[in-house]
C-alpha cells in the first residue's frame, strides 16, 4: 500500500470529528472539571475542592462499597452461569437447540426500562408473583424492597438475568473455535468428560472468559438503571446506591458537575486498573 493521506482522511474525517468532539474532548474536559469548583460562577480552579470532598464523603464510600459488592458477587456468578449455558448449548446431545437458545439469548434484546419494570412488579411484597410462588410452596415471603440484603440480591438477580445470555453468546463462539480433534484425541486416551472440561476447555477459553469478565466488570461498575428504577433511586435508604447513581444525583440533580466528574474519574481509574490486570492475565507466555 502506498501512502494516500488525502484519500484516507476524506474517509476518516467525518467519524474523527464526532469522535474528537463527543469522546476525546469530554475525556479530557471531565478530568479538568474534576479540579474545579463548579457551584460558583465563573468556575474556579480548586484542585482539592472535589477530590478532598470525595475522600471524606460517606455517600461516596457507601456507593463504592455497594458497587464493589455487586461486582464481586454478581460477575463471577454470571460468568460461571454463562459458561454452563454455553457448554450445554454446544452439546451434540441437545434436542430443540433453537428453543433453548431463544430462552437464554432473548434477554439480550430487552431494554433496561422494560425489564426493570417487570422485575419490580414480579418482586413486589404482597402481590408480586415471586412472593406468591414462595408462599404457595410454604416459604415466607421476602420484603425485597425494604431491606438492604434482599434489595441487593434483587439487583444482582436482575442484572444476571439480563446479561448471562449475552456472555454465553461470546463464550459459545469461543467454544466453537476449539478444534474437534482435541477432544477426539482426549476421548481415545480415555480422559473423562469432566476432566476434558477442566483441562482442555477452560484453559483454551481463558482469553474469552477474561474478556467477558472485563466487559461485565466495566458494565456493572456503571450500573445505574436497575437501582434507579427497580429499587427506586438506590433504596432502601441508599442501600443499593451505586457509583453510577451517585454520579447521576450529584451531576444532574444537584448540578454539581465538578464533584460528579471526580466520581466519574474514580470509575475510570478502576476501569483502567481492571484493563491492565486483563492485559497481564492474557499476556503471551514468554
Amino acid at each position: 500500500m502506498r501512502t494516500q493521506n488525502a484519500t484516507a482522511y476524506r474517509f476518516l474525517t467525518p467519524y474523527l470529528l464526532i469522535f474528537a468532539i463527543f469522546w476525546i474532548w469530554p475525556i479530557i474536559s471531565s478530568f479538568l472539571i474534576s479540579f474545579q469548583a463548579t457551584r460558583t460562577v465563573p468556575w474556579r480552579f480548586a484542585p482539592t475542592f472535589n477530590w478532598g470532598r470525595l475522600i471524606g464523603d460517606p455517600a461516596f464510600y457507601n456507593a463504592l462499597k455497594n458497587t464493589l459488592l455487586i461486582l464481586v458477587i454478581q460477575v463471577p456468578v454470571m460468568i460461571s452461569l454463562a459458561i454452563v449455558m454455553a457448554v450445554l448449548l454446544n452439546s451434540p446431545l441437545l434436542k430443540a437447540r433453537g428453543l433453548y437458545r431463544f430462552a437464554f439469548f432473548a434477554p439480550v434484546v430487552v431494554g433496561e426500562v422494560a425489564y426493570s419494570a417487570v422485575f419490580r412488579l414480579m418482586f413486589s411484597l404482597d402481590f408480586g408473583i415471586i412472593n406468591k410462588l414462595l408462599n404457595s410452596v410454604g416459604l415466607t415471603k421476602i420484603d425485597w424492597f425494604s431491606n438492604v440484603t434482599p434489595a441487593m440480591a434483587l439487583i444482582m438477580i436482575a442484572v444476571t438475568w439480563r446479561w448471562a445470555g449475552y456472555n454465553a453468546i461470546i463464550i459459545l463462539a469461543g467454544l466453537q473455535s476449539i478444534p474437534e480433534d482435541v477432544y477426539e484425541a482426549a476421548t481415545l486416551d480415555r480422559v473423562s468428560r469432566v476432566k476434558q472440561f477442566f483441562y482442555i476447555t477452560l484453559p483454551l477459553l481463558k482469553p474469552v472468559i477474561v474478556f467477558c469478565a472485563v466487559l461485565s466488570i466495566i458494565g456493572t461498575m456503571q450500573l445505574f438503571t436497575e437501582p434507579f428504577l427497580i429499587t427506586e433511586r438506590g433504596g432502601p435508604g441508599g442501600g443499593t446506591e451505586t457509583l453510577g447513581l451517585l454520579l447521576y444525583r450529584q451531576g444532574f440533580r444537584s448540578l454539581n458537575f465538578g464533584y460528579a466528574s471526580a466520581v466519574a474519574y474514580t470509575m475510570a481509574g478502576l476501569a483502567i486498573a481492571i484493563t491492565l490486570v486483563q492485559l497481564w492475565l492474557t499476556r503471551e507466555p514468554k
Binding site: 482522511y9 412488579l121 466519574a264
Partner: protein, 278 residues
Amino acid sequence: MTSRLQRRLGRSIALHLFLTPLALIWLFPLWMMVVFSTMPDNGIFSPGIELLPHDGFIDNFNNLQRDTNFVGAILISVSVAVTYTILSVLLTSMAGWALARYEFHGKGAVVAIIFGTITLPYAVVLIPQFIMVARDFALANTWIALIVPPLFNSLGVLFMRQAFSMMPAELFDAARVEGVKEWRIFLFVALPLARPMLAALAIILFLASWNNYLWPLLINSQPGAMTAPVALGTLIGLTKVSWGGIMAGAVMLTVPMLIVFVLLQRHFIAGIAAGAVK
C-alpha cells in the same frame, strides 16, 4: 455396546432435565411481562396466582396512552434509531475502510487512541457531553441531541476495519487499474461485499439506540421530546399509575425486538460475538 448407548441416553436425559427448568426460569420474566400487559390493574394486584394471558391489552394500552403520550414517544424512538443506525453505519464503515486499506500519516495514532480509550467507562464523558450539548450548543430536547453524540461509538470502526482488511486486495486493485475512483470502489465494490457484516452492525446499533436510556433521560427530559424508554421510565414509581399500562408499554418495546431477534438471529449473534474479536 448397549452400556455405551445407555450412558449416552442417560447423559442426554440429565442434560435436558437440567437445562429445561433453567430455560423456563429464564423465559419467566418475559412471559409474565406479556401476562401482566393483558391483565387489569385490580387483577395484577390481587392475591391469586395468574400465569395465563387475559384479554385486557387494549384497555391497558389506552391507560398507558392516558398516562403519557406513548405513541408519540415510540415515533421519536423509531425515527431516532433509524437515523442513528444509518449515520453510524456510514461513518464507521468509512473510517474502518480508511484504517483497513490505506497507509497514511497518523494511522498508528488513530488506532492507538481508539483502542486505548475503548474500555473507559461511558460515565466519564457524560458530564462534559451534557454541558456541551445542553448549555454550549443549546440543543437539549432536540433530535440532534439524541442522534449525534452517541455516534462517537468506536466498536463499529473496529468491526468494519476487521471486515475490510479480510478482503483480498486484488478485488480493489483491479478496479483501480481501470481508473475507478476510490469512493466508488468503497461504495460499489467494498460495501456490497461487506453486506453480512453491515447487517450485523446495523442490528446491534439499532438495538443500542432503541434501548438507550441514560443519555435520552438526561438530554431530552421534556414530555414532547422523550424517547419511549424514557417516557415509560417516568411512570415507574408513580403512585397513581396503571401498571397494566406500563407492562403494555414494555411489551411494545420488547416484542418487536424479539421478533427481529428470531428472524435475524444469525446476524445478531455475529454482531455480539464480534465484540470479542479484537
